[in-house]
């Protein structure tokens, strides 16, 4: 569809939140008991945090929960009863989430409906609407400005303006949201696209030198590059980058419970881990730098080759939260041939 533009006053934004809570399961940024920023279910508009900062955990879990029961069984009275959990009962509204988080769904939808249709995932996606909030400034570790694809698949993006939001509707799903609460939205005036462009320029999030287009061919020849070992050997193999990543979607299937009852469930898994794919055979990548290389190349080479977009929205969480601050953007630039200088000046013996 062609994009549509609306104005949402600050006052109506509060009204939208309150009204939507009656119709949707509303998820927004809020603070947990430790004062940390999270995606949660604030009960009032005052509890919603309108900040650029991202919660450590992306919004991915609302479509692909860390644990997801696929089938549950119970034994008793001489029989075994099995049941599959029902699809979500309510529509989900991701309210004011970061654009980089909202954008991730459209990217990973492709893998969940390629070949095999992943019912539990798709059932949740079908009932999800995103109303993302554009950031006012690029933060230290973010690089969404280098990801060309980014916000294209997001249902609706709100750009904060003086006293109101400029809301750009990009999908039918987004249009349904506006139609549902039409009286809260006003027609946008002027030239909204130009306004958005200048907003992005000011925020520093306008696109430049997209990594995909510039690095993919370089990466394709970099698999055997000697510097992987030295640059990625500090990777400790934890799951932070993948678990906080809005686009990483690898999972494991586990059985839990026993004779009396139990469940089969899907849990997140991470390719950087030592035991990844050990259940059918073994982890084929015998050293940590190879596991890290796998993650990077999957995102910037294999995935776009198969599905189009890079498997990254440039949110930067994998840099911010990395215990050893490995910088995926810098490494893509270096191994993709965009930069001669390896991050931190490290270089392998020639």
């Amino acid at each position: 569809m062609d994009a549509e533009y609306y104005k949402l006053s600050a006052e109506n934004a509060a009204g939208l939140f309150e009204r939507a809570r009656a119709d949707y399961d509303v998820v927004a940024k809020t603070r947990d008991a430790n004062g940390n920023l999270v995606y949660g279910r604030p009960v009032s508009f005052e509890d919603v945090a309108f900040v650029d900062e991202q919660p450590p955990m992306s919004a991915k879990a609302f479509a692909l929960p860390q644990n997801e029961t696929l089938v549950r069984y119970e034994r008793g009275g001489g029989e075994i009863r099995a049941e599959t959990p029902e699809a979500p009962a309510r529509d989900l509204l991701l309210f004011g989430v970061n654009v980089c988080d909202a954008a991730a769904f459209d990217i990973i939808d492709r893998v969940f409906q390629w070949d095999y249709l992943d019912d539990p995932y798709l059932a949740r996606r079908e009932r999800t609407t995103q109303l993302a909030l554009a950031c006012t400034a690029l933060q230290r570790d973010c690089f969404c400005n280098r990801i060309s694809y980014a916000e294209d698949g997001v249902d609706a993006v709100a750009y904060p303006r003086e006293g109101h939001y400029l809301v750009k509707i990009q999908t039918d799903n987004g249009r349904r949201l506006v139609e549902r609460y039409r009286n809260l939205f006003a027609e946008a005036d002027g030239d909204p696209e130009t306004e958005i462009t200048s907003f992005l320029e000011k925020a520093g999030t306008a696109k430049r030198e997209p990594l995909l287009e510039t690095a993919q061919s370089g990466l394709a020849g970099a698999f055997e590059h000697a510097d992987w070992e030295i640059l990625a050997s500090t990777c400790i193999g934890c799951g932070i980058c993948t678990y906080t990543c809005p686009t990483c979607h690898c999972f494991d299937i586990q059985d839990e419970g026993g004779y009396v009852g139990g469940r089969r469930l899907r849990t997140w898994d991470h390719c950087t881990g030592r035991t990844f794919t050990a259940m059918p055979a073994h982890q084929p990548r015998d050293r940590q730098y190879k596991r890290y290389r796998q993650r990077l190349l999957h995102k910037f080479w294999y995935y776009p080759e198969r599905f189009g977009p890079v498997l990254c929205t440039g949110c930067g969480r994998c840099i911010t939260h990395c215990p050893v601050k490995i910088n995926i953007k810098e490494l893509v630039e270096y191994f993709g041939g965009l930069s001669d200088a390896p991050p931190g000046g490290r270089r392998h013996a020639p």
Partner: protein, 294 residues
């Protein structure tokens, strides 16, 4: 006067030139972060530094570089770790060149604002908790010391967060732990950043028998954290890396601190004090009170 950065780079360059080491394990800064790096003789050393964001316990990288001649920066956290590793016979000390530095205390990353103005401050309230308890700011066991020695302020006593948690009534305390544990995503960064969690296969990875379900949840997560704490009982040297790396902000080390305190009060034992300090839980003497010991 040369800065520590310059001195360090010069010292490391010499180590490579004199063919004393194959790798140097230090910190470099780039893109606004200070982070661990493995450097070779061909590396550009201009990123090499030691500052108040040199958080990582570099001893955690020793297994990766086993067998190589290695130089590494050791602040007190690493010194204590090396002592435990030596006592547990995990250390190839003769292959190490321990480079000592004056440690100015690390600034708690959770207290750093975007402009990082705090880096210039000497307010102990901004330090990581471990730094307030630090007993030695210089590296007593260094093979090579870089920079000017500095004085160590009187160490703070106690574990403020642990004491705060303990002061809660039992039910509240349980609720607090449950809440913390429900945040855990079991990325295992705490375990992997820990220089003393060096098992090739952690109990959480065993599946025959499977000690722990893979699914997350307060109970399972607590199970993991408690067993890890117990495996570190009498070993943890309180570098707080587990808490620092936690992406969801769980103060994991509170569990370790409980045990450290018990070891201190019951056995007069502090892990990693010297390389000869035997691991408390496996060392035994014939006159130990337990009569089941043969």
């Amino acid at each position: 006067m040369a800065t520590i950065r310059e001195e360090l780079q010069a010292a490391v360059r010499r180590l490579f030139e004199d063919d004393k080491i194959d790798y140097f394990l230090g910190y470099v800064d780039d893109y606004g972060h200070t982070f661990p790096a493995i450097l070779t003789k061909d590396s550009d050393l201009s990123g090499l530094t030691f500052d108040r964001k040199s958080y990582n316990n570099l001893a955690a990288f020793l297994p990766e570089l086993r067998g190589s001649r290695l130089g590494l920066i050791c602040k007190q956290c690493e010194v204590r770790t090396l002592n435990v590793l030596a006592a547990e016979e995990q250390l190839e000390r003769e292959k190490l060149v321990v480079v000592g530095v004056p440690c100015p205390a690390m600034i708690d990353p959770r207290k750093l604002s975007a402009d990082e103005a705090e880096l210039g401050s000497d307010d102990p309230a901004l330090w990581q908790e471990k730094c307030r308890r630090c007993l030695e700011r210089n590296t007593p066991t260094a093979d090579l010391f870089v920079g000017e020695k500095i004085s160590t302020p009187t160490p703070a006593e106690g574990w403020p967060l642990l004491e705060e948690v303990e002061a809660k009534p039992a039910e509240e305390r349980e609720a607090w732990w449950r809440e913390q544990m429900s945040l855990c995503i079991r990325c295992y960064a705490c375990r992997l950043a820990c220089p003393l969690c060096y098992c090739h296969q952690c109990f959480v990875e065993d599946n025959k028998p499977q000690w722990l379900d893979k699914s997350v949840g307060a109970e399972n997560n607590l199970h993991y954290h408690i067993i890890r704490a117990i495996h570190l009982a009498g070993r943890c040297i309180e570098c707080q890396e587990c808490s620092r790396v936690c992406p969801v902000g769980i103060p994991v080390d509170v569990l370790n601190n409980v045990l450290s305190r018990d070891f201190a009060s019951r056995f007069g034992y502090a892990s990693g004090e010297t390389a000869e300090t035997k691991p408390a839980l496996v060392a035994y003497e014939r006159d130990d009170p337990e009569d089941f010991i043969l």
